[in-house]
């Protein structure tokens, strides 16, 4: 309790975050800014009535972390938002979207409402080795929305002694971000990872990446597929492409975990890279994270459009390295096609 309060009290209300929060930029009301959410968290502690507006304020945050990156006083607004969502959930205070996400994900093992076998994309089940040093954590979007990309990625990875989790379930990210309990999913994945004996988990999704790395027990080594492959470029015999592309840093991969170089290394070994208007630590959010795509699709779309305005002139593709970012950026109606970094890699393979 005191720890939570201290964390809220770290905020000096300087408003630095207000000037960068993309959600505030859209909505214009204090309650939609990071500072507003910090205040509301304090308000709840002091007895502020929890109504629909409170829930909306807290749940409109994409957890992009830009506020935290810029916060001079070292406050952790994202953690405060997530903790407050959780606290309210435990008291039965939640939005419909939070409820649906929780129930779907815990009952079906994915937040998409899918019921078929997760690895249906896989041609030959025999490719799932019982023991291996590396595990490819596919993720829900990879499994159900981008099966073709996932198949190709795994075809590439399996040459390097990589296996899959046979009964993989959602990593738990959508639950953690929106205040629900991910424990049953975490244990199910963990048990299998232990059985496989892997020392490293590879994933192609920024949400899975940050969750596996920061919210799973023990110290799993987690790397993004771009990091894994960036180390193996010489073995892949790539051709140079006469293309110019730009790159969207997924918040939960870049800013929150510092993975900036590997995707760029892959891109620049294939073609020319022209950065978006904001990039690396300052990169704008695609607008999908933190349950916002599910709960506030219009807001999420507006955020996506803003990000797309940052595409530089004269590029052929917008490359990203997270299926959720890709999905939302595609929704925003981009002027160039949005592709995954593995798609670019495929184009360059002889």
């Amino acid at each position: 309790m005191e720890k939570d309060l201290r964390s809220i009290l770290k905020c000096v209300r300087c408003g630095t975050c207000r000037s960068v929060c993309p959600v505030f930029e859209e909505a214009g009301w204090e309650s939609a800014s990071s500072r507003g959410r910090m205040l509301i968290a304090l308000g709840i502690h002091n007895g502020l009535e929890v109504d629909e507006n409170v829930l909306n304020s807290l749940n409109m945050c994409t957890t992009c972390g830009l506020c935290e990156q810029m916060c001079p006083s070292g406050a952790s607004p994202v953690q405060v938002v997530q903790d407050t969502r959780r606290k309210l959930m435990l008291k039965g205070r939640m939005t419909d979207a939070q409820l649906v996400l929780r129930d779907e994900t815990t009952s079906k093992g994915n937040p998409l409402g899918e019921t078929q076998y997760r690895h249906s994309w896989l041609g030959d089940i025999a490719d799932i080795k019982k023991h291996a040093p590396y595990v490819f954590f596919v993720g829900c979007l990879g499994s159900y929305r981008y099966p073709e990309l996932t198949r190709r990625t795994f075809d590439l990875l399996k040459k390097f002694d990589v296996t899959l989790i046979p009964e993989e379930v959602c990593c738990g990210s959508p639950l953690l971000r929106t205040g629900s309990d991910p424990d049953s999913l975490v244990s199910k994945n963990m048990e299998q990872i232990k059985k496989i004996g892997a020392h490293t988990i590879i994933t192609g999704c920024a949400g899975c990446y940050t969750t596996l790395k920061n919210d799973y027990p023990g110290d799993l080594k987690v790397i993004h597929v771009s990091e894994f492959l960036a180390e193996r470029l010489p073995e892949m015999d790539l051709k140079h492409l006469d293309l110019k592309v730009t790159y969207h840093d997924p918040c939960h991969l870049g800013r929150c975990n510092g993975v900036f170089d590997a995707p760029r290394k892959i891109i620049t070994s294939i073609c020319e890279l022209k950065e978006m208007k904001s990039h690396h630590e300052q990169s704008r959010c695609c607008g999908a994270g933190g349950g916002v795509l599910k709960g506030y699709p219009d807001l999420s779309m507006a955020l996506s459009k803003k990000r797309l305005e940052e595409i530089p002139e004269g590029v052929d593709y917008l490359v990203t390295s997270c299926p959720l970012c890709r999905t939302n950026l595609q929704r925003g109606g981009p002027k160039v096609e949005v592709i995954d970094i593995l798609d670019l890699l495929k184009m360059a393979m002889k």
Binding site: R6, V12, G28, S73
Partner: protein, 460 residues
């Protein structure tokens, strides 16, 4: 007071999407960056001068308090509605109405953020010089209302020097224009000057004619390290009396240095007792001469002097310096920076004495006080961090702040050099202003007879 009927009328004026009575929204508008609190009854986001006028007229008819708000980064409770009523969130009126650069001016709405204005001016080779630490977030309206300034005020002066004219909605809803587009005018009392620094107590600013300056060709930054803040204070007096006018002259004490290195480890500032940051701008020759003069003036007092290597290093140090005040919260996980007693100003000659007194106060109350600020114009920020959950810390903090304020006044200084009086410092107005405060009260009564504009502020 406010009732459903009135709220509906207000909604009709600004559109229902621009008005809120949601309790969490009101809560978010109940504070700025100071410790002052006050709950509004309604928050309104006007889009036009006509809307502001209609709302204020309605408020006037019904005796409802109206408090203007920019970005709420103020450090004096200026935008906090002490007596409830309406908060007018002006941040949505943020257009640049006219670029008139041949006349060295722009016309802006008050909600535009300082940095956004400067970004828009940069391609044309111009800038609006007052640069507070909060430039990335504070509005021009807030700066005008507080007569804010910043690191470059030692050379370029305060916001006041850049306001040629204003459009104001008066307490009864009437719209007036003050000043003109000319570089000078003596037609009538300088009402523009009256409204600059009036903290929303005399009228609501809805437009401003802002003078801009050509961007200097060159800038250079010098870091001078000293064993103690007092030695640094002496160096400042020496530099300024040597005839050079630096475009910035900032002091950072050892705790602030530690906080900044923590915020941005790339900075790698030397861990001295105090650092002075000087900036010189102008033509290449002027900058060269300025640097030489500063180095000469500091030589005997400083333990080390060096110049920033390039624009990148310069930009980084200024970006970090801007947020130094908040960054000191990082030094201790259980302590938070509290902006109280943080903005005194003293005559330049008294700077070393003030620094010495601050040190004594720090010892007396056993409370670390970190000093930084625009020392070149005598403005010192005294940063105190406390355990927000300790009553004893709060008591020490308030007592130390009170002593700092009184000391500044005793030295012929002021309790607020740039952050404004608001309600945080209104109790010192009589002491500092004497019977001049009565004149302020008379003006306030004449312009706002019902006392609806930002009541409870500035001691009026």
């Amino acid at each position: 007071m406010l009732n459903v009927d009135l709220i509906e009328k207000m909604g009709n004026i600004v559109g229902t999407e621009n008005i809120s009575v949601a309790s969490c929204e009101l809560y978010c508008y109940s504070s700025d960056a100071s410790q002052i609190r006050g709950m509004p009854e309604v928050v309104i986001k006007p889009r036009t001068t006509a809307q502001v006028s209609d709302i204020v007229r309605l408020a006037y008819e019904h005796n409802i308090p109206v408090t203007a708000r920019g970005a709420g980064t103020g450090l004096s409770g200026g935008c906090v509605p002490l007596e409830g009523g309406i908060v007018l969130d002006m941040s949505g009126m943020n257009r640049i109405v006219e670029f008139d650069l041949d006349n060295l001016q722009v016309i802006v709405e008050p909600g535009i953020v300082q940095e956004k204005l400067n970004k828009a001016l940069e391609p044309y080779g111009f800038f609006f010089p007052p640069d507070p630490g909060s430039s990335a977030m504070c509005t021009i309206g807030g700066l005008i209302a507080n007569n804010g300034s910043g690191m470059r005020s030692v050379k370029y002066g305060t916001t006041r020097s850049y306001v040629l004219g204003l459009e104001i909605v008066m307490a009864d809803g009437k719209i007036i224009k003050t000043g003109s587009k000319t570089m000078k005018t003596v037609a009538g009392y300088s009402l523009t000057d009256l409204f600059v620094g009036s903290e929303g107590t005399l009228g609501i600013i809805t437009q401003a004619i802002i003078k801009v300056r050509a961007l200097p060709k060159e800038r250079s930054v010098i870091f001078a390290s000293f064993k103690t803040p007092e030695l640094a204070g002496k160096a400042v007096v020496k530099v300024l009396s040597s005839g050079i006018v630096p475009s910035a002259c900032e002091i950072l004490d050892s705790n602030i240095i530690r906080a900044l290195n923590n915020y941005d480890p790339k900075l790698n500032l030397p861990q001295a007792g105090a650092i002075l940051l000087f900036e010189v701008d102008g033509s290449e020759a002027e900058v060269k001469e300025g640097i030489n003069l500063i180095v000469k003036a500091c030589e005997d007092l400083a333990s080390a002097i060096r110049t920033a290597s390039d624009k990148k290093e310069r930009d980084e140090i200024w970006a970090a310096r801007r947020l130094a005040g908040a960054a000191i919260s990082r030094l201790d996980p259980v302590r938070t920076r509290v902006y109280v007693g943080e903005d005194v100003g003293v005559p330049i000659k008294e700077i070393p004495k003030m620094l010495h007194k601050v040190d004594e106060i720090s010892k007396e109350f056993d409370l670390p006080i970190m000093t930084y600020g625009h020392i070149g114009d005598g403005n010192l920020h005294t940063g105190m961090c406390i355990d927000m959950l300790s009553d004893e810390d709060w008591m020490k903090l308030n007592a130390a702040a009170d002593k700092i304020h009184r000391t500044a006044i005793e030295l012929g200084g002021t309790v607020t050099a740039e952050h404004g009086v608001g309600s945080a410092r209104s109790e010192y107005m009589r002491l500092e202003l004497g019977s001049a405060l009565d004149v302020m009260i008379t003006i306030k009564k004449a312009l706002d007879p019902k006392g609806i504009l930002n009541p409870g502020k500035m001691g009026v």
